[in-house]
Symmetry: C2
Subunit: 334 residues, 2 copies
């Protein structure tokens, strides 16, 4: 590997000049710069980041902690983040916490050791307390709010989305509607439950506490909950189900199949998130769609602003729209 000295020697200048030619082109004469650039290219010179950063006491990296990369929602979100970070010449360290507090803690430490410029995080339980110790690291939360004030947030309009979904079911004539949530302690779940409650209340419908349960974001969890809901006595059993994410929708579908129940015909279904496969299900799934790419883009954009200015902006709280896509999995109750 060629070092800056090799380039300097070859170009007949000092290392400082090479450094300037590369990172502050305007501080060097046109002529010298061109010569240096040519030689650097010819030698395949690449500045070693660790050396620069040791001197500068700063990195060009940000960290992105998501809860589940296997979920297309978060994968797409990560893409959105990457797109913006790339534009700013920023590296993104991508970590998968799998909702595990130990992992979250470790990854956060690792990232801090890298002197990251900022943090993008999809919080889980326990995240708030960890954020408190990060004094002054520009941070933006995505998808969920940890409850810790003082950081930016980019969230979906969960309440509105769920109101839309629940209203749609009510319009169709459903009166007994089940709610299968993710983690009960997580803000997105709570907000969606609130949307459900609002819509039910506004329509003057009775809310049976047995209709609300949690699948913890897991396929298996939703499968179990769905079975439980469907085994209520016929007059109490929900005729429609709201399912709070795509993975859980798979569990719900599995349960319904094994119970011999037909989607739409026997039970109406609305999901949250619109993975590519939702539209080819039989019947195609009615869902509340979000824009994960947009969420990543916006969050990273805000972070970049906070990173670039010296002073910290008042923490923004942004809500991204959700919208209902009506397909075939919802129908009038029989």
């Amino acid at each position: 590997m060629a070092t800056i000295e090799d380039v300097a020697r070859e170009a007949g200048v000092s290392p400082s000049t090479v450094s300037r030619a590369l990172s502050r082109p305007d501080m060097v004469s046109q002529e010298t710069r061109d010569r240096i650039l040519a030689i650097a290219h010819q030698l395949g010179y690449q500045a070693i980041q660790q050396a620069r950063q040791a001197r500068q006491q700063a990195s060009t990296s940000i960290a992105l902690l998501v809860t589940d990369l296997e979920n297309p929602f978060f994968a797409t979100l990560a893409k959105g983040v990457q797109a913006v970070a790339d534009q700013h010449g920023c590296n993104v360290l991508l970590y998968n916490t799998e909702e595990d507090e130990i992992k979250e803690d470790r990854y956060l430490k690792l990232a801090l050791q890298q002197k990251i410029q900022g943090l993008l995080i999809v919080p889980t339980r326990g995240t708030a307390s960890r954020l408190k110790e990060l004094d002054d690291l520009p941070t933006v939360e995505l998808d969920c709010a940890s409850g810790y004030a003082g950081v930016g947030q980019v969230l979906a309009e969960n309440v509105r989305g769920t109101v839309l979904a629940t209203d749609h079911l009510i319009q169709l004539g459903h009166k007994r509607i089940g709610f299968i949530g993710g983690h009960p302690e997580v803000s997105s779940t709570r907000e969606r439950l609130e949307g459900y409650n609002q819509a039910m209340a506004l329509a003057g419908l009775v809310r049976d506490p047995r209709w609300v349960d949690y699948g913890y974001g897991l396929e298996s969890g939703a499968e179990e909950v769905t079975r439980k809901l469907m085994s209520l006595p016929p007059q109490d059993r929900p005729t429609a189900l709201f399912v709070s994410n795509a993975d859980m929708m798979i569990g719900t579908l599995t349960a319904l199949r094994s119970l011999g129940l037909q989607v739409a015909q026997d039970v109406s279904l609305v999901g949250f998130d619109d993975p590519p496969w939702a539209k080819v299900m039989q019947p195609p799934l009615t869902v509340v769609a979000q824009s994960p790419f947009e969420m990543g883009r916006v969050a990273c954009g805000i972070l970049m602003q906070n990173v670039q200015r010296e002073f910290v902006l008042p923490p923004l709280n942004i809500r991204l729209p959700t919208h209902l896509i009506v397909r075939g999995s919802t129908a009038r109750p029989r």
Copy 2:
């Protein structure tokens, strides 16, 4: 941020002793070590990686370049890599090339500037030439082979998997079988085509060149190809389709739906890869399953071996098993 000097001063020792207490515990007396560790913890001391690495001329990172993080296959693969890297205290820089040569090139350069210890890559077209310039960087290819010799490879048994799939269709009585591949230049596609050809030839079936086409791994590509295949004259039209990945399967399903054709009843379908939703499709999808997590684990394991020993092992070429899961999307032709 506390530096090593702060800890040294507080503990009444030299910085070197602190350094040793932290990274070579056995070179320091029990007593001193305990004192240093306590103070380091108390001060919240975290060694700055850039400084260590500038001195050591080495990082603890490896890079993983995948073609599409949104594809659950690669997301799971990334998890497998992470799991092993974590055990070795290794950071993984995750990049999403989206099959874009420019991006691949740029990310590779970025990674090299970080002085990565090794490279894990899902190659695309053009990868081979780039690999050539990486002289001596331990590298392992996953999922596909770029054609560049001298690097390790962890691939699936593509030929065998496709033979299994094609044979299954032949056993059911299909004679006209369509093959929808990914990128025609990519090794996994070529191997799967070979499996198809082998099985067809062995069964003594005619192979119509119109039955083989490529969707380039894209939903839209497969949709178009499926339409084309289904618009062949009835006596030439395939009664069964092999579809080379899960995204393309969505396109194929979309096409079939809009053509009013029933899966299994009108056209049998076998996919490659087993995403979570395959089993809840109506009918559930017959697929050739791989083990992406295992693929990531194995590849990272090999890389770690090559990184840790000073000398480079002869490049290993490992094949991971594929197996057929028969579900409801395949049936006798009518």
